[in-house]
Amino acid sequence: MSFLESLRVSFRSIKANGLRSVLTMLGIIIGVAAVIAMVAIGEGTSASVASQINGLGSNLLIVSPGQATQGRVSLGAGSLNTLTLADAEAIAQKESVSGVAPSVNGRAQLVWGSSNYSTSLEGTTESFLEVRNVQLAEGRFFSNFEVKKQFNVAVVGTEVVSNLFGGSSPIGQTIQINRIPFTIIGVLKSQGSSGMTNNDDRVLIPVTTAMSRLTGGKNVSAIYVSAASAEVMSKAQADTTATLRAQHNLRPSESDDFRITSQSDILSTAQAVSGSMTALLSGIAAISLIVGGIGVMNIMLVSVTERTREIGIRKAIGAKKRDILRQFLIEAVTLSLLGGVIGIILGIGAAVTVSKLSGMATAITISPVLYAFLTSTAVGVIFGVYPARKAAQLKPIDALRYE
């Protein structure tokens, strides 16, 4: 009997036992759908985390002050005030570095006319745009000259615009920031929130103005450094370390009084987290696939017993062992494959629905679909061989006599 004929015989038998076939496939359907949906959710989450981290800036290094220890007790990051504007300028001299943006942070009470609004304040320099990967929606950013001369100019986020100005253009307006008048010269393009901070809810002013008039002190809370390219990231990090050690007159025996975190560190940490989440999810899904496979074997074994007589008849009128083996194997593989295809469709549907309903990012990639497809075929073969062999080895007289 030709392969095509075997295929037809198997299809006819699957169709003749409709309900049982559907129930058999259910395990595979659920397993495959789970794999696809879980991987899509996992990949989507890690992609959105990665894009948020990339949104921080390009090839970013974050220099933060070191931790002070008092009686061997760490006081936490930022407890030392070691970073200065001079440090930032020194780092900017390095060739491996394309931009440096020092930063001071604080809260600010904004007043315009009769409305007032509390937001976060960041003092920085012109390099902020490049280093932190930020664009302007309107107006302009403050120049180096304005930074140097401590101009009272401000750039605000869209959230501030809508809260304080009710959406009308704030360019050229004068607002009070902690009772000091500032002229608004630009509006930042909306970035959305990354993690816990809302990037649209802030006001930026020259770092010099911030230090002298608002936050006080000589120290900056962080220096954002942008490496010239992705290739020179580690060189930029080494250069920054060396520059800061020289600036702070640290002896070789002394440890750094600052800390450098690179974007790739954050990225790899985040990816490790979401990677293990994806692995966990797909692990659970894979188990359900195996359970589905056992379901196929179970039903096929029942089917062999139930159809012993049919096998006897087929053998009596001339079916060879391989004809029977092929028929049952094709049945098992067809059920698994069909279940796999339905599962893929359902899985993609589930992923799309989840992202529509919860706003959770999902990414459907080709590899889990392929993987699910191949696995369901493999499941069909592996769990189909035993029942099929059992059927093929039945003796015709025994099978015919079976009641």
Partner: protein
């Protein structure tokens, strides 16, 4: 005429637990082409074992068995399957049709395993069903057919590969008297047309439709006689 079936000192032993059962104890039998033989005997006489061996469903423990000149005793399982497919047409007591499968598809089955192309299968299956008078039941499933009709389907299935022998195991066992007579009429017609028919039965009236009766007892042939007053079914009854 050359014998279709030639058996020499055929023995069949079964092992059931510790007990050894001698089902056939040295059977020698020769059946000519075109004969109509009824094999009779009480249960346990060895007639079922005989039918399994003739039908190539089981191999003898020892002895020689030639079917249409082919030495069956040495054949492998797959060769036996091929012999069953090409040389033997089975008719069973309980019809043994595939459920949920139409009459035509049931009749096509032996040709499917013989590797015949789909169109030829369909044509020959329909022709065989018309021959047994089922032209109006081609696409009915077994559960939509009466016992007699089901047995006709299985006769059509048995004939469709043009076997050298037609082997019927209690073909009337599940049928009423009138239908039994019709079925036996079909066998007689086929035999008249030259087909060798071997009938296994325990009913004396059914055996009398045959030309010859071979009686078994305790695994051996006790008699092999020509039927003196053979029962004949009028042709029109067989044709329905």
């Amino acid at each position: 005429m050359k014998p279709v079936i030639q058996m020499e000192e055929l023995r069949k032993r079964y092992q059931i637990g510790d007990q050894e059962i001698q089902a056939l104890r040295g059977v020698s039998l020769s059946i000519e082409s075109g004969d109509f033989v009824a094999i009779m005997g009480p249960s346990g006489s060895g007639k079922s074992s005989m039918m399994n061996v003739i039908g190539c469903l089981d191999k003898p423990t020892s002895g020689e068995f030639y079917l249409d000149g082919y030495p069956v005793s040495q054949a492998h399982d797959d060769e036996l399957a091929e012999i069953r497919n090409h040389k033997i047409g089975f008719v069973f007591q309980n019809f043994n049709l595939l459920p949920r499968t139409t009459a035509v598809e049931n009749v096509e089955l032996p040709m499917l395993y013989a590797g015949k192309p789909a169109r030829e299968r369909r044509e020959r299956a329909i022709r065989a069903l018309i021959e047994v008078g089922l032209e109006e039941r081609l696409y009915n499933k077994p559960n939509e057919l009466s016992g007699g009709q089901q047995q006709r389907v299985s006769i059509a299935r048995a004939l469709v590969n043009d076997p050298v022998i037609l082997l019927a195991d209690e073909p009337t066992g599940a049928l009423d008297t009138k239908t039994s007579e019709e079925i036996m009429g079909i066998f007689q017609q086929l035999n008249d047309a030259g087909k060798t028919v071997i009938l296994v039965t325990h009913e004396p009236d059914i055996a009398e439709y045959a030309k010859r009766i071979v009686r078994f007892r305790d695994g051996q042939i006790v008699s092999n006689e020509v039927v003196e007053e053979r029962r004949r079914v009028l042709p029109e009854v067989g044709k329905r």
